[in-house]
């Protein structure tokens, strides 16, 4: 298959075939990370800029490791230590990075659509590492990779995503992605955290978490940001954990081979009980491992595409 996307902006702009191709490529990349010498030369001489306007541990280190395992040169920019803190606009900063011949710019930004703005104006490939509450395509791809690995398929599975859907780009990208791949997506959370019209993305909505968990193959819990209490989205952590948190008792309603996922960072004891820290059904660390593989695959595919564009 010919993969010719300059940018990875969201899951909605990827076809089923492209998603499957990315996951297949990621499966191969995963093997590289398991070798004693974890490095291949396929992106030697390529420059990858990690441009993070928002704090991130997992995603940034995952991209950084992915770039290095493919021999690309990666540099990291954080908003706080760059000229952004001097008031330079997003588009100006990005144009300067392009002028230094960055092949791929990986961007995380608190404003939805920021990667689209860059993609529309820059020749460098753009990979969205999370924009506002819009999309987190690499997270959705690593989640799909993990589910496919554990279940052998995506089609026909029941995926329950639970928590603060309204503020979650992970949820949006996963709803779109799992839907595209033929899974059934159900959502649950307090009505304050269910965004208006979310059914249009292709998901059933429950306010009762038990009904969402019922018969699920996958239960994905989302992080609750404690400062949301100030916006009146929930009452207390105690009540949230009791009514909307996942525990082993509640999980009995799911299929017996259910897997439990979480994009991290986890608030143990709030959205998910600490019982799952060591539980065999919990695949939270597998997600992290697959994250590196998915990002290796995307860097390879996008840098490959920009390389072709240069020689055309």
């Amino acid at each position: 298959m010919q993969f010719n996307k300059k940018d990875i902006l969201d899951i909605a702009s990827l076809s089923c075939e492209e998603i499957a191709f990315i996951l297949d490529t990621a499966d191969k990349m995963k093997e590289i990370s398991q070798r004693p010498v974890k490095k291949v030369p396929i992106l030697r001489g390529k420059t990858v800029v990690l441009f993070f306007y928002e704090a991130s541990t997992r995603t940034r280190s995952s991209f950084d490791i992915a770039a290095k395992r493919l021999s690309a040169d990666s540099i990291s920019l954080a908003a706080s230590s760059s000229s952004i803190s001097k008031g330079e606009s997003l588009i100006d900063t990005a144009k300067n990075l392009q002028a230094m011949n960055a092949d791929v710019i990986v961007i995380r930004h608190s404003a939805s659509g920021a990667p689209h703005l860059l993609a529309s104006q820059l020749k460098s490939g753009i990979i969205n590492a999370g924009d506002g509450t819009h999309a987190h395509p690499t997270q959705a791809l690593l989640d799909m990779m993990t589910v496919r690995e554990k279940k052998g398929r995506l089609k026909g599975l029941r995926i329950a995503i639970i928590g603060d859907i309204a503020h979650s780009r992970v949820a949006r990208s996963n709803i779109v992605g799992f839907n595209k791949m033929g899974a059934e997506v159900v959502l649950a959370g307090p009505p304050t955290m269910i965004p208006s019209g979310v059914e249009s993305l292709g998901a059933k909505v429950f306010y009762d978490i038990d009904r969402a968990v019922e018969g699920a193959d996958v239960v994905m819990m989302l992080r609750i940001q404690k400062e949301r209490q100030k916006n009146f989205l929930f009452s207390t952590e105690r009540e949230y954990a009791k009514v909307f948190g996942l525990n082993k008792q509640r999980l009995k309603r799911a299929k017996s081979d259910v897997i439990v996922m979480h994009p991290g960072p986890v608030n143990w004891g709030l959205e998910i009980s600490p019982e799952f820290m060591e539980s065999p059904g919990s695949v939270i660390l597998d997600q992290v491992e697959n994250g590196v593989a998915v990002r290796m695959a995307l860097l390879y595919l996008v840098a490959g595409c920009t390389r072709n564009a240069d020689t055309d």
Binding site: L90, A111, G132, G197, S200, N231
Partner: protein, 429 residues
């Protein structure tokens, strides 16, 4: 100096005129608005006039008035000046515009009002009616000096761009304004409910990950202000109506006899939130573009008289404020040079008659503001001549406005002002 506008279709809803006729202007005043068509070009009229405009096939209407414009001067002259804004107005067929007070400094005092009026006089194009601030500095904390503002030439007061949050202050503003017969123009928005919102709330906002603004943000305040209007008996005008619920509330209030009037803008009857797709910052405004259901309701409100006026909410912004992340982009679009062409679509689509459209773009704004209305003999000769058949393509590069922020660039429109005459002076070529 005499100007004869001959052979055009003269439409003046103020006096019930709609016929082929000549209009004679003498010394800046309408001399005759229904004189007989002079078929003979050597008639005495032609001989005596210093300027003759052949308006055959054209519409000759009372000058269009845009009640809601941001001219940006003083303070943001890189976005628009009074000169460039008036040039844009004249190009768009507007003989008068209301200049909103959210300039820097705010127009909450005599000096700024006089500054604006002097600049407008220097520009010598469309008339400018300055709008004063309801509260000093638009702070929502204390009243501006309405007596001074009125004396300096203000016809209306508004904190536009911001709602008056404090209901007690709004009540007192309405009461106090009665002493000076000032119109209150209200920007209706519940800021707490709107917190963080950047577009219409709904499925599209959810898909795009943008924070939504529900319709209730507007209608809650529309209903509050109607209640205060009924309490005080002040003249209340609701700015930029965008939702079905607001239209309904205003319709019911008018039925009860409440002295409320309302306006909407072309973008609210031409576009829906779909224009935001692709994070298009030229479709970001406040209130936001709404759903199809709201767009329909706005059209119904225009058709049944609930909405009195069509305005532009002309809000110039430079590329700096628009070529950014959607969340960070400034609200607002320019409209003076596209409003007439877009509004004429309402006639083409059977929503309004041509007469009703002229009412909403000239007669009603004049009545609401209390300025001379229609082509009555003795009125200042503010006249717009429209070629209703001229097809043209919106090209923002050619705008007289200093700014380019329009979602209508590239649109094919029909109908354009060919002459804008202000006080007998031709302000367009």
């Amino acid at each position: 100096m005499r100007i004869l506008i001959s052979g055009g279709r003269v439409i003046d809803p103020a006096s019930g005129v709609d016929e082929i006729a000549d209009v004679l202007i003498e010394d800046g005043i309408v001399q005759s608005a229904k004189c007989k068509v002079q078929s003979d070009s050597t008639s005495h009229f032609s001989l005596l006039t210093s300027h003759c405009i052949d308006a055959s096939g054209k519409l000759v209407v009372p000058g269009l008035i845009d009640m809601h414009v941001h001219l940006r001067e003083p303070g943001h002259e890189y976005k628009e000046t009074i000169q460039s804004g008036c040039a844009a107005a004249a190009a768009g067929g507007f003989t008068a515009v209301c200049a909103m007070p959210n300039t820097h400094p705010v127009n909450d005092n005599r000096q700024i009002t006089e500054y604006i009026l002097n600049k407008a006089k220097d520009a010598g194009l469309s008339r400018v009616y300055p709008v004063g601030a309801i509260s000093k500095g638009l702070s929502g904390e204390r009243l501006s000096e309405y007596g001074e503002l009125k004396d300096a030439g203000v016809l209306a007061i508004s904190d536009d761009g911001k709602p008056v949050i404090n209901s007690r202050l709004m009540r007192r503003a309405m009461e106090y304004a009665k002493a000076f017969d000032l119109l209150i123009i209200s920007h209706c928005e519940d800021l707490e409910l709107a917190t963080g919102g950047v577009m219409n709330e709904g499925a599209l906002a959810t898909q795009m990950g943008l924070a939504g603004i529900p319709n209730a943000v507007e209608s809650i305040m529309v209903m509050r202000d109607i209640a205060l209007c009924e309490l005080t008996g002040a003249r209340l005008h609701i700015a930029h109506v965008s939702t079905a619920e607001s239209v309904r509330a205003i319709r019911e209030a008018k039925k009860r006899g409440c002295p409320v009037t309302a306006e909407t803008a072309p973008h609210y009857f031409m576009l829906t939130e779909d224009a935001v797709t692709g994070y298009n910052t030229h479709a970001k405004m406040n209130p936001p573009l709404r759903s199809e259901k709201d767009r329909e309701a706005i059209r119904e409100g225009l058709a049944d008289g609930t909405i009195d006026a069509i305005v532009t909410d002309h809000a110039p912004h430079s590329l700096l404020e628009k070529d950014t992340e959607f969340d960070a982009a400034a609200n607002g679009i320019i409209g003076l040079e596209t409003s007439l062409g877009l509004s004429l679509k309402l006639v083409e689509q059977g929503v309004l008659s041509l007469n009703t459209l002229i009412e909403k773009m000239s007669i009603n704004p004049a009545r609401i503001l209390g300025v001379p209305m229609g082509l009555t003999v003795g009125n200042p000769a503010d006249i717009t001549i429209i070629d209703p058949d001229m097809a043209w393509t919106v090209n923002s590069e050619k705008f007289r406005s200093l700014s380019r922020n329009t979602p209508f660039n590239g649109w094919e429109l029909k109908g354009q002002a060919v002459y804008t005459i202000v006080g007998g002076k031709i302000c367009t070529t």
